[in-house]
Symmetry: C2
């Protein structure tokens, strides 16, 4: 990689959010990256950095929303797109095109689960506060915990159960890929947001429970999660713990 | 392409839905394909065909949901993933990797718009009838028409406005790509679902209005849309016209 081609991640500095899916690829591979918006504004950071990209005053095709990745002249957005690009460079996906398509398919299914998780606390619109859509949120969260969460998690458990080539340890092909990192983070987030719903949904899903533990104990991931670089979940992101949305 | 490598699309036979984004790539390029679930069950079609894939009794990694593409031994799902794969083969995207990442970024942004459009009539959950979530749907649709629809359409208009290399005619690079087809179909769907909201949102967006007309008059697209192969929008798909969701 030429020296000027440093990796820059541009994402909200206050929450793990969707940026976390990108950070995990860098952290797992110990690839240096600049978490631009977490720098002070005097160093080109802060929310102002994000605004420069969204407003089109930076190079490239403006993104609709962060996370944004900049590498040299390339500026790209959308989590699954950024992860696909980085995984090829960082060797977190097999070189075979068919397996890359399967990886992308599963990554996009994770993205769908993440979007549905977000909408449990924002079922009516992102411009309203949670408190102003709480009644609808309770109903959406109830259906999510009862139906969607078990369906999605059961699906990923089944993918592992069927993947004999990895001895049921990883989702795609024979070995570890970025999709395993993304599922790991999603499981972390879901168990934070819905401790009751998550415990119930995973009771009979040994493969994803084992995957979560397997990834959590990878040395670079364990050391990252314990570090100050890893932002805790909070009530500004996707995975929010509102006890009233996790009741039976 | 070897003779056994025919393209098979597996999607609900009753609605255009997300399958339409895949069909348009075949239709534009006059590539033969089998619309499997629209065949009679006696020929391996019908909803039973979809169920075989979802239950894992067909080859490959089971998809979470249709549309599904089968080409020889490869079975893949997720619209943006299928379109990315097909666009490379059918030359509906430039060969340059950076432009393919931009195309995928915009395609995923279209997918986000499509998901938000769907949720205007299903804000609480896909397992409930529209009639049982109509009050929440009115509020979500109101915010969608007032905020999200103008934001998304304004975004795509701006992408065209900035793309001097295509003389503002196409979204990615210098020429026509699959992303233009997907935006075209999305605009068709939005104008069907929200005739008032769409008219207002596009009043000052000449670039996307022109793009829609430009794609509609491509000979293969015009002839497809006029054919019986092109299923009309209806109240079972993503783009549903409920007048009460398009009121001011």
């Amino acid at each position: 990689m030429p020296a000027h081609e440093r990796y820059e991640l541009i994402y909200w500095p206050f929450l793990p959010g969707r940026g976390e899916y990108v950070r995990l690829l860098f952290e797992e591979t110990r690839t240096p990256y600049v978490d631009v918006a977490r720098l002070p504004e005097s160093q080109g950071g802060g929310v102002a950095a994000i605004q420069r990209y969204l407003s089109g005053s930076e190079a490239g095709v403006p993104p609709f929303a962060p996370p944004i990745l900049r590498v040299g002249d390339l500026v790209i957005a959308q989590v699954a797109n950024i992860c696909q690009f980085l995984a090829r460079r960082l060797e977190l996906v097999p070189a075979e095109a068919g397996l890359q398509s399967i990886a992308n398919q599963l990554q996009l299914t994770i993205a769908d689960l993440v979007a549905e998780t977000h909408d449990t606390h924002h079922p009516l619109g992102v411009s309203l506060y949670y408190e102003d859509q709480q009644e609808a949120a309770r109903e959406r969260a109830r259906l999510f915990r009862a139906q969607r969460l078990p369906k999605f998690l059961g699906y990923f458990d089944q993918i592992l159960a069927r993947n004999e080539s990895s001895h049921h340890e990883y989702l795609v092909g024979e070995g570890f890929t970025y999709v395993d990192l993304s599922l790991f983070h999603t499981l972390r987030g879901l168990s934070h947001a819905f401790p009751n719903g998550y415990a119930r949904a995973t009771e009979r899903l040994p493969n994803i429970v084992a995957l979560r533990n397997r990834i959590a104990t990878r040395p670079n991931i364990a050391s990252y999660v314990a570090s100050a670089r890893c932002l805790p979940f909070n009530e500004h992101g996707i995975f929010r713990h509102y006890p009233e949305l996790d009741h039976d």
